[in-house]
């Protein structure tokens, strides 16, 4: 998140990448004062998923939202009127209004870096090497599209987000109940 803000000069209030925390579990106290529990937690780092079926592109009235090279979905700042329809229609709420720039903005997969053979800022920055970019057909064929809580169902827009699932991954049906850090974005 921070690498992205730094590269794109994002003001406070504009996040192109979010790290969702999923946490669940119950506690039971035993008579002797000890506890049993079934707590689990994991994180899902998500930005714009450059979906295969990008509903934001469909609903944009001015054609500002476009699919460009390599399946990347990008916003043409010269055509955007900031009506917000893309944000409303995105299951991941990826587009965000930048009040300084006066148009909608979102992850563009660091097109400028990719064009130079460099990795997107977030991928290069992740200290535990949790993020990567890959050709989407291969990745989707191997790993499927991201369908774990706390994400929305992948059926809505066919996100080009593939996860190596956490050992405790929960189904998307549980999403609303287990998203634990809404206040951080």
């Amino acid at each position: 998140m921070i690498a992205c803000k730094d590269k794109h000069d994002l003001p406070v209030g504009v996040l192109w990448r979010k790290v969702l925390e999923c946490a669940s579990g119950d506690w039971a106290e035993e008579p002797d004062g000890s506890y049993t529990q079934n707590v689990l937690a994991y994180y899902v780092s998500v930005s714009c998923n450059h979906c295969e079926n990008p509903v934001c592109v469909t609903v944009c009235p001015t054609g500002a939202m476009q699919v460009v090279e390599n399946g990347i979905v990008a916003i043409d700042p010269d055509r955007c009127i900031a009506c917000g329809n893309c944000q409303w229609n995105c299951p991941y709420s990826a587009p965000v209004l930048d009040r300084v720039k006066k148009h909608m903005t979102k992850c563009d997969m660091c097109r400028d870096f990719l064009a130079q053979g460099k990795l997107p800022a977030c991928v290069a920055a992740c200290p535990s090497r949790a993020l990567d970019v890959a050709p989407r057909k291969e990745a989707v064929a191997r790993l499927g599209r991201a369908d774990v809580a706390p994400l929305p169902s992948e059926k809505l827009t066919e996100p080009n987000l593939c996860l190596i699932k956490h050992r405790d991954s929960l189904s998307v049906r549980k999403s609303a109940a287990v998203l634990a850090n809404r206040e951080e974005f």
Binding site: A74, G117, P127
Partner: protein
């Protein structure tokens, strides 16, 4: 086997192939297009589909983040108009973990460097206090005026109170980089005869103290974390590497690789389901804070009674396991196994049932864990520094380490002695400091007592070393790159009380980059350059296992901020020791000197000159992940390779502790203020068994090292606060009882003070315990109200040094929490 990694996104066999994916430019309006047949009417033609934005071309410099997270990271800072405008990650090499060469990617803190450098509370000019100490009212003054005042005060204190009255306070804001570290002032003071320096630290004081008695080595003594690749079971007591060793070049990355390689099962015992649990734990065992020794004792009970101990090792390498290896003058029934089995001083068998009630871990689980540990050979038992930062922390440390001895895991590959990684990193040069004429030192945590009553501090009572008694009260505090006067030291109200008396400590000089809570208590504030504003030589910090070196470049200093070396030169001139201090070298010449005599000795293959080295960037050297095993010699042959303990062996019964207990007065009215001589569980004040205090303050409060900051460093960066806000973790059971919902504002309070903070209601913490990340900036509501709205835990901690190590029990607190 599935990867136990943090989730998210694919794999990429060839990153280079991204450009070959094939252009796929299609105009908008793909789906549902032909409903009104108008989709071609107003579409942009393909030629108009907008271009890839061009990348600006700014030069970059290599710089670094060198604060106290145990890591050093590499930053590529892009510069325009003398300012850092963008930061990129280290991409000098391809990751090759096995050979110890991998990218030193910065964590979110280092990554936010430019936001931190130019934040609104960055200090611009020297400041002189007007108004009362602590009011935070200053007027800008020139460097000359400020340094005149400082030098005059130094002269006066040395002359009238002695060198031991001038104290260089514990501060860890700069850990690596000879010209940026604290040695600059030490060297200056040693030119004047010496100065006061505390010993030990706030990170691992009880660990160091306890292990000195047990192993003769003050901590930093365990097998490398990469050793878990050689075992099937690793058990961590605490050790939240994901948050405390966050660098991409550090242990949080190494442990992922090691676990993958060894397919190791990892069990983590911690009051919180930490981020390390998220990434590598196969099982989490929640435990009440301060009770690790109870759990460890119960594990020992099962190991002993079910005959899973290494009897031979205990007889040949240890003292005091049972009567057969006790010293002659030891009291009867005072051995370790006496304590465990119920024939010791308290006649209580440390059964899992006994431990379950205290620690919160179910008895059945304790039996099972003991059997897992006992039946897996080798087994890597390790502890973090959270379990030791307690009122009886030394005991927790020793009790956990004792398990490694019971099972014979000391000094073998894939085993461990129960401590944290010994760390093996290439050394970075330090500025030579000369000889310090002041030989007596106090434990750092005792500094405030040394201000109030230093002359009455003794070796027996207060842990003074290098003498029987401390020779002076502290009159002058030099605080460079630290926030441990107010923010990070226990019981803020107490510190304010002592320091308000200007007849006690006469001069407080704070040199820092931002206006911290500590800086507000200064008499003189000096603005310091930040890491990217000074050149230096850096390398891996104390908690890394790699070999590398980097000569950094710099951008223009912010306003009137200056590097500490240059400031010390100016002070030296005023004190008449400039020649001695500089040895005729300026800052750059010192770097050259240290590079030639230090770095190039370690890395002879590096370029001949500093200039060339700077251009070359980061220099890595490969190193196998199989490090020398600590205590291997001792394990092979304890006779020819004895430990530095009085007996030469592992002291499960410590005669030295017994001696200490006879000399040191303890306060019997304080629960847990005791000095035992075998590792054991001690119920303490503000612990989970302090029933009297719990009537008013029923919840245990611990701090933790929060990923949004490094202690108090970076705490004010708005980008970090946006996504990593300061909150207090509370279990839903406790929250519901108080009508607290997630993200509600709450007040946390005890006799020491009150904090207002937002609640994170989460199942990721054991009930009965709340947790607040340490390091948030203390922000009292007003001059009169001491209610802290910054979320600083030291509003609530107690300044009560531990009995054995005279160390900081900052995780031992009881509080109550109410909704606001």
């Amino acid at each position: 086997m599935t990867q136990k990694k943090k989730s998210t996104v694919a794999f990429s066999p060839e990153r280079r192939s991204i450009l070959k994916l094939g252009a796929l430019s299609c105009a908008a309006g793909a789906a549902g297009g032909s409903l009104l047949g108008l989709n071609h009417l107003f579409q942009p033609s393909e030629a108009q589909a907008f271009e890839v934005p061009a990348l600006p071309e700014d030069p970059f410099i290599f710089t670094t983040c060198v604060n106290n997270c145990g890591n050093t990271c590499v930053l590529k800072a892009f510069v325009r108009n003398d300012k850092v405008i963008r930061v990129e990650t280290d991409d000098s090499v391809e990751d090759d973990w096995e050979n110890g060469v991998f990218q030193v990617r910065a964590c979110p803190r280092g990554r936010s460097m430019r936001r931190h450098m130019y934040s609104p509370d960055r200090l611009k000019t020297p400041l002189k206090r007007i108004g009362k100490r602590g009011e935070g009212k200053f007027e800008p003054v020139s460097w000359d005026e400020a340094l005149d005042i400082v030098a005059a005060s130094l002269k006066h204190c040395v002359k009238d109170y002695g060198n031991a009255s001038v104290y260089s306070h514990y501060a860890s804001g700069v850990i690596t980089g000879p010209m940026t570290r604290r040695e600059n002032f030490w060297r200056l003071m040693n030119c004047l005869g010496g100065f006061s320096l505390g010993y030990s630290d706030y990170s691992s004081a009880q660990n160091q103290a306890g292990l000195r008695y047990l192993y003769g080595k003050a901590g930093y003594s365990g097998n490398a974390i990469s050793d878990i690749a050689h075992t099937k079971l690793a058990v961590f007591f605490g050790a939240n590497l994901s948050e405390t060793r966050s660098s991409g070049g550090g242990l949080q990355y190494e442990i992922l690789e090691a676990k993958k390689k060894g397919n190791t099962r990892i069990i983590i015992i911690d009051p919180r389901y930490t981020d390390t649990c998220v990434t590598v734990a196969d099982e989490w065992i929640p435990i009440r804070p301060g009770t690790d020794a109870a759990l460890a004792s119960a594990l020992a009970y099962v190991l002993i009674t079910e005959e899973m101990i290494d009897r031979e090792y205990l007889d040949t390498h240890c003292v005091g396991f049972d009567a057969s290896t006790l010293p002659e003058d030891a009291p009867e029934h005072s051995s370790y196994s006496d304590y465990i089995l119920g024939t010791g001083f308290d006649m209580v068998a440390k059964t899992p049932e006994w431990a379950a009630a205290i620690s919160g871990v179910p008895a059945a689980r304790i039996y099972k864990l003991a059997r897992e540990i006992g039946q897996t050979k080798p087994c890597y038992i390790m502890q973090g520094w959270g379990i030791q930062r307690q009122a009886a922390g030394e005991m927790n440390v020793m009790a956990v380490a004792a398990l490694a001895n019971l099972t014979g895991n000391v000094g073998i590959r894939g085993g461990n002695n129960g401590d944290l990684d010994a760390y093996h990193q290439s050394k970075t040069p330090r500025l030579p400091v000369g000889n310090n004429g002041v030989k007596t030192r106090f434990p750092v945590f005792m500094w405030l007592k040394a201000v109030e009553n230093g002359k009455n501090m003794t070796a027996d009572q207060d842990g003074i070393i290098g003498g029987d008694r401390y020779p002076a009260d502290i009159k002058f505090i030099w605080n460079y790159a630290g926030n441990t006067i107010i923010n990070q030291h226990s019981e803020i109200a107490e510190t304010e009380r002592v320091l308000s008396d200007e007849t006690k400590c006469e001069m407080i000089v704070v040199m820092d980059t931002h206006m911290t809570a500590t800086a507000k208590w200064a008499d003189i504030v000096l603005p310091s350059c930040m890491y990217p504003e000074q050149t230096d030589i850096v390398g891996p910090s104390y908690a890394m296992n790699t070999d590398w070196a980097l000569l950094t470049e710099a951008v223009k200093p912010f306003f009137e901020s200056r590097p500490v070396y240059d400031v010390c030169v100016d002070l030296a001139r005023r004190l008449g020791v400039e020649k001695e201090f500089t040895e005729g070298r300026d800052r750059e010449q010192w770097i050259d000197y240290l590079y030639q005599t230090g770095t190039r000795k370690t890395f002879p293959e590096m370029p001949a000159t500093v200039a060339e080295a700077r251009k070359a960037g980061v220099h890595f050297r490969a190193k196998s992940r199989d490090f020398p095993v600590p205590f291997a010699d001792f394990r092979q042959d304890p006779a020819t390779h004895p430990l530095k303990t009085p007996s030469g062996k592992v002291e499960l019964y410590s005669a030295a502790l017994r001696t200490l207990s006879q000399k040191r007065k303890v306060d019997s009215s304080v629960l847990g203020d005791v000095i035992p001589f075998v590792p054991q569980y001690v119920a303490t004040w503000d612990g989970c068994e302090d029933m009297q205090t719990k009537e008013k303050y029923p919840l245990q409060l611990i701090g933790f090292h929060y990923k949004g900051r490094t202690h108090s460093h970076y705490a004010n960066v708005d980008w970090l606060l946006e996504v990593l806000p300061q909150t207090m973790w509370i279990n839903p059971v406790d929250a519901e009882r108080r009508g607290i919902r997630h993200n509600d504002s709450v007040r946390v309070f005890n006799d020491r003070g009150e904090v207002r903070i937002r609640a994170k209601v989460t199942p990721r913490i054991i009930p009965g315990v709340v947790a607040m990340g340490q390091g948030a900036w203390y922000k009292p509501l007003s001059a009169d109200s001491k209610v802290d709205v910054g979320g600083c835990i030291n509003t609530l901690t107690k300044y009560r040094p531990t009995a054995i190590g005279k160390a900081n029990p900052q995780h031992t607190n009881l509080v109550q929490v109410d909704r606001i």
